[in-house]
């Protein structure tokens, strides 16, 4: 990963609307070229966080830096380098796909070739279709095309595949992977675990306006909340499962005892918690248990 300054830096970010605290002290950073996911249930504060970084909302307090700019002041130099796919947004209904992509290309100083972007977004063959005649999946592809035509360094994807059928999701994932291969930095929000797992280099699990855990999907949770799960059959053939922070010691005990008895350990397995386990465990927690951050909010 690039050793330079991070593409996104967020420190102690807070946002309240009236009396409601949507974001209560979030910290994370996204390296250049990284695919970073904000994963969490609806209403967790993901969209609020992303919209602060996109320049749509003013933060209440904290630091936010996007490609070295303060997103709150919406500098044009920043908007030229960022592509945004909103959760939902309309377009000119009477324009064709090609007309719109071409028009959008004109907003940017160094736009990409229109045909190339149409191809990348998976809209080949629909260039001359009026946008109001596009299916839901195609309209989402158009969102991608409009966000990408400016050849952004950083792409925000707010729930890019919500409501998609499985085939459309796979296609969207391919587009996102292609972007990552082009070296783009991507910040996406999702409430789908498999999406986070399939796409993200690192994931932050967000709930009630806070980040509960951050890490690579495969490593997330180890040493945090969930523990290793060791299971085996005891002398009576009953399957025993125990959770531990230190599987080495437990395995040593188990294997020593088995060797001493002169028996084997049938069905011995050590599993790391899956992202799903971590996610369910973290997000199922009653908000009361995370109250220690409340004083900062």
């Amino acid at each position: 990963m690039d050793s330079g300054a991070p593409a996104i830096l967020v420190r102690d970010l807070h946002k309240s609307y009236g009396g409601v605290q949507a974001v209560r002290g979030i910290d994370f950073e996204v390296a250049r070229g990284e695919v970073f996911g904000l994963l969490g249930p609806n209403g967790a504060g993901k969209t609020t966080t992303v919209e602060i970084l996109e320049g749509y909302r003013e933060r209440t307090s904290g630091i936010a830096s996007v490609l070295g700019h303060d997103p709150g002041s919406r500098p044009r130099a920043l908007r030229e380098r960022v592509g945004i796919v909103l959760q939902e947004s309309g377009t000119y209904r009477h324009a064709t796909v090609r007309e719109l992509v071409t028009h959008w290309a004109g907003f940017y100083p160094a736009s990409r070739d229109v045909d190339e972007v149409i191809e990348l977004a998976g809209l080949r063959g629909s260039e001359d279709v009026l946008t109001r005649r596009l299916s839901g999946g195609q309209a989402r592809r158009l969102d991608f095309a409009l966000a990408l035509v400016g050849d952004p360094e950083l792409v925000f994807l707010d729930e890019p595949t919500t409501g998609f059928d499985p085939a459309a999701r796979r296609a969207a994932w391919e587009t996102i992977r292609a972007l990552a291969e082009l070296g783009k930095t991507i910040l996406l929000t999702t409430h789908y675990l498999d999406e986070a797992q399939a796409l993200c280099d690192r994931v932050a699990i967000v709930k009630d306006g806070r980040i509960l855990a951050v890490g690579a999907p495969a490593e997330l949770g180890v040493g945090a909340v969930s523990r290793y799960r060791v299971s085996w059959r005891d002398e009576d053939g009953v399957l025993v499962t125990r959770e531990t922070d230190d599987p080495t010691a437990l395995l040593h005990q188990l294997t020593s005892a088995a060797l001493a008895r002169g028996t084997g350990l049938t069905d011995l397995s050590v599993t790391r918690p899956s992202l799903e386990d971590v996610y369910l465990e973290l997000t199922a927690e009653a908000p009361v248990t995370t109250v220690e951050g409340g004083s900062a909010a």
């Binding site: 320049g55 908007r79 909103l86 947004s89 377009t91 209904r93 324009a95 907003f107």
Partner: protein
């Protein structure tokens, strides 16, 4: 600056192209005033005094439909559809976008006025405007005033489904009270008093002087002032309440 102007021009061209692809919008913009002119021309046939009232009246109404009505509906739609929000995330300067939209509305105003003036001169024997300069001044003031008021009204409209109700609830009474179809001086006193407060009455007075009576411009300065005051109020409300996205929930 030239880049912003170029983007304004591009935006304007896109708005024009989209407009012509939406036949119902084109219909209301250009056929409605013609329809009114034809109807009232028939009703008032032979009464030149009435025709002299109706032509500047319809001209005033045209200014209001192409700016106030069109922009109020348009802004609510664009906001609700998320088009404004999407554009806000691009490098397109706000001025270029709103400038393109405004220029688009003004083009419609100009086309409508040309139709009304041509029909008035050609069919209703009203003659060509007495003073093009005075006409220009009032048209510019009227466009600015009603464009600002239309954008301001859009902030008060909760969603697109209710937009026609809100817009018509204002537009229809205003065109009647302001004397689009008759000489406002003949209305009952209380209606006349209400009309005296409204900008359209004064815009029509100014247009009438410029198009028909040829009264000196100095006679209509108070009319111009009323239109500009409404425009200023509209501008403040339009800017203050401006939102790039629909209110949620």
């Amino acid at each position: 600056m030239t880049a912003t102007l170029a983007l304004t021009w591009r935006q304007y061209r896109l708005e024009r192209r989209m407009f012509w692809r939406n036949p119902s919008a084109a219909f209301f913009n250009f056929v409605l005033p013609l329809l009114f002119l034809a109807l009232f021309g028939t009703i008032f046939a032979g009464s030149q005094d009435d025709l002299d009232v109706i032509v500047p009246g319809i001209a005033g109404m045209s200014i209001m439909t192409t700016t106030f009505v069109a922009l109020a509906m348009n802004m609510v739609f664009l906001r609700e559809q998320g088009v404004l929000k999407r554009l806000r995330g691009t490098p397109l300067p706000t001025g270029a976008y709103l400038g393109g939209l405004a220029a688009h509305a003004v083009t419609n105003t100009a086309i409508q006025l040309a139709i009304v003036i041509a029909a008035g001169a050609g069919l209703l024997n009203v003659g060509l405007p007495e003073s093009w300069v005075a006409l220009g001044v009032f048209v510019v003031a009227g466009v600015a005033c009603f464009a600002a008021l239309g954008v301001a009204l859009s902030h008060a409209i909760p969603n697109f489904d209710s937009a026609p109700a809100y817009v018509n609830a204002i537009f229809l009474p205003v065109i009647v009270i302001s004397g689009v179809f008759y000489d406002a001086d003949n209305a009952p006193a209380f209606l006349r008093d209400i009309g005296e407060v409204l900008p359209l009455t004064h815009l029509i007075d100014g247009l009438s002087a410029a198009m028909v009576t040829g009264a000196p411009f100095s006679d209509n300065l108070s009319d111009l002032a009323v239109v500009l005051v409404w425009g200023a109020i509209g501008a403040v409300l339009a800017v203050r309440g401006f939102s790039w996205e629909a209110r949620r929930g």
